[in-house]
Symmetry: none
Subunit: 456 residues, 2 copies
Amino acid sequence: MYLIDKNSKIPLHIQLYKEIKKEIIHNLKVGDKLQSIRKVATIYNLSKTSVESAYSQLLAEGYIDSYPKSGYFVTDTNYKNFKKDSNIDIEKKEQKDDFLYDFFHARLEKDSFPLKLWKRIFNKVIDESIDFCTYHDAKGEYGLRLEIAKYLIESRGVNCNANQIIVCNGFINSMGLLIKLLNKKHDTLAIEHPGYYAAREVFELSNYKIKKIPVGKNGIDLRKLEKSEAKLVYITPSHQFPTGVTIPISNRLKLLDWAEKNDALIIEDDYDSELTYETRPIPALQGLDRVGRVIYVGTFSKSLSPALRISYLVVPKFLLEEFSGVFESRVCLFTQKTLERFMNEGHWDRHLRKIRTLNKKKYNLMKKCLEEKLGSSMKIVNQGGGLAIHISPKVSFDWNKLEKLAIKKTIKLHYAKEKSGGEWQALMMGFGGFKEEEIEDAVNSFSEIWHECIIE
Amino acid sequence: MYLIDKNSKIPLHIQLYKEIKKEIIHNLKVGDKLQSIRKVATIYNLSKTSVESAYSQLLAEGYIDSYPKSGYFVTDTNYKNFKKDSNIDIEKKEQKDDFLYDFFHARLEKDSFPLKLWKRIFNKVIDESIDFCTYHDAKGEYGLRLEIAKYLIESRGVNCNANQIIVCNGFINSMGLLIKLLNKKHDTLAIEHPGYYAAREVFELSNYKIKKIPVGKNGIDLRKLEKSEAKLVYITPSHQFPTGVTIPISNRLKLLDWAEKNDALIIEDDYDSELTYETRPIPALQGLDRVGRVIYVGTFSKSLSPALRISYLVVPKFLLEEFSGVFESRVCLFTQKTLERFMNEGHWDRHLRKIRTLNKKKYNLMKKCLEEKLGSSMKIVNQGGGLAIHISPKVSFDWNKLEKLAIKKTIKLHYAKEKSGGEWQALMMGFGGFKEEEIEDAVNSFSEIWHECIIE
DNA sequence: GGGTATTTGTCCGTATGTATG
DNA sequence: TCATACATACGGACAAATACC
């Protein structure tokens, strides 16, 4: 006896389908005959179509077989699987630690992702019924690569075409791919010091030897780079991480010279180019490269959403062939197509303009608040663009106490501790993750613990 | 065959109306019966209403007559001369290097991806406004990992919990991650021969030494595996690729013994487990493992869509810590969340049941067609599950000619050429990518060239 | 045991409700 | 508000399998 509720919101054929499925799983044996469509329709006062459609769903899912003009019979494929009687020993989800304020520089403001828009575009994309059943271009969808190339040429002065773009799946994936390409020719990486730790770690994990090259006020020390004899260097020329310095044009040319003479390669990470708000943004180093020694690395994680998992490489043409072979597309096709359309319809440009304006406002506010609250006890170490203001104390200061107090107050601070040449210790007061209206409160909270650490 | 463009701004019923009108004028005779509304709706994936409305317009304009409960028939008033040669703007389809028939085993039937459903669930997910602005769990979303664990436990007999699952971004990415983990402890991989070339290539690319171990009728040769002294082996125990053999329980236990004694690891690739249709599927090797020597590899590419880029690893607990650190989430959050919900609401189970049922049907049809068309000139090499029937000629046969003819007819054939022990050459007649109604035509076309290659 | 009435799956046309933009 | 597209629900027509006389 099936329970069918005519007043339920659940359609009749679905109700019936579920009831019969239950019956098959619990009470019926292989080969048992189901009641005929007409019989069920009569008994439960349903139309034949409803019953028919319930049966046909069960048929499609393999619960029953149909023998035309004869009846429906329970199939032999309803194995009880391997279900253990006990429920899964679900271990507790690891508790994510949450902070009151996190001064990390490369955070995105909550709700900055254009959800509504993304939804609309996604729906358009999915209605276009692309072929989701075959494998796709290993470098990423051509249309998306084209949009990225257009953007890079126009906004970053990069010199490339769509075929040089490879869509990856986040910064680390980009680096991983690169390493796969290079590891037959390179085993040593030169990297700025202080520099981006995550890049160093990826290469270290792949057993690269790391040569730390100091960073001066004109960026990486070229003489020491030359002396290191490395043939591969990772740099952040537009805004050095974490110092924020920019390599001037003269040094850029020297760097390219170095690469050409030594048959070396330069990995240019343009990590925060989308976020800065200079009136005259610095074009990419790659655009100056005439001989194909620069590999350009970019990402949408910091400007759009880290949850999308889209980044890209721009590789010199001579390296292109190496990417064919076992490599495969890395990013969900829906996401690629949606981003392609997002860019193509101009939303990307609009989005960037929006966050740039916002970041400029936030930078000014952050600076004002810091100066007001910390006043003469602090000096600002770097002033350039970027999403953080680096400060250090002008007075005797107890760094250890600061760390402890910050933990106690659940304020996450970020230090630039590495030493390059002389001692270099600063706090990176990032504002990327704060909303405009949060900044004052955040600085206030920080100011309280800061002042406690000043040694009289 | 009507051309219906779902993207077009022209309403579907209008498009259909025009197409049918064209058909009536050019190809149909008075009294010919049109296909039923339901049939057309199914074939072109339209709603019955759209078709009905096209038909009713044709009815109104006198192209067809309706005989209720019986069908629509072409009337005798279709004067051919009033038709204007209006703009024949049928767009050219992009010419992909497409095959007439591709007998690859692991293809998905076109349109098998549940687009509508996916769209609906995606919209639900995006309306929940998750936090898209922070970085997420590096192993993959917890909820999704839980769903995968539930599925693996119940349907594959895998012994795991959600924390052992790591969401990756396709088979090669899974392997890449694994290699990163292992390369400090392993440099040699044992692999079945013949075996899955893509797995071998990934390891080769990472400079692994490869030991090819022959496959017998009980799967990988255990004695030779032992003699190889490898400490890492890649196998496909449920359906060996490409021979289709299954490792029996006795050998599975021996394999696990070997791993335990030699402190070795087993990579179990369960690549086609979702697709097969045996009444009693073979549980995973991993489920027998009591000491944590098995790494289980699975994917959604073959059962749902390769465009999603979702695969997963199940790693033994002792390896888990190694995965923290620089690794980062690999799959678009939207996609993860959508899949999580897709599984949670039971659609995954239903989807699997459907494709299994379909595959069973297709297997039977394929076998029947092959036997009918090739008859005594062929013998079936393997009969087990899987998505291909392996055949080889029983008569003198010109393999070279077959290859050439296949190219000429744009039929893509797949060979199992590798020799293991004795000569072993077979054609893998895969049916995964065909729709049910295509199989007969595909085999017919193949049969034509097959017979030309028989040497009298 | 052979013809006939009934049952049965399947295909069909139609009407109405509902979500979407 | 309106058109479009789809989901839900109804009952008729048909041919083959089955049961019955």
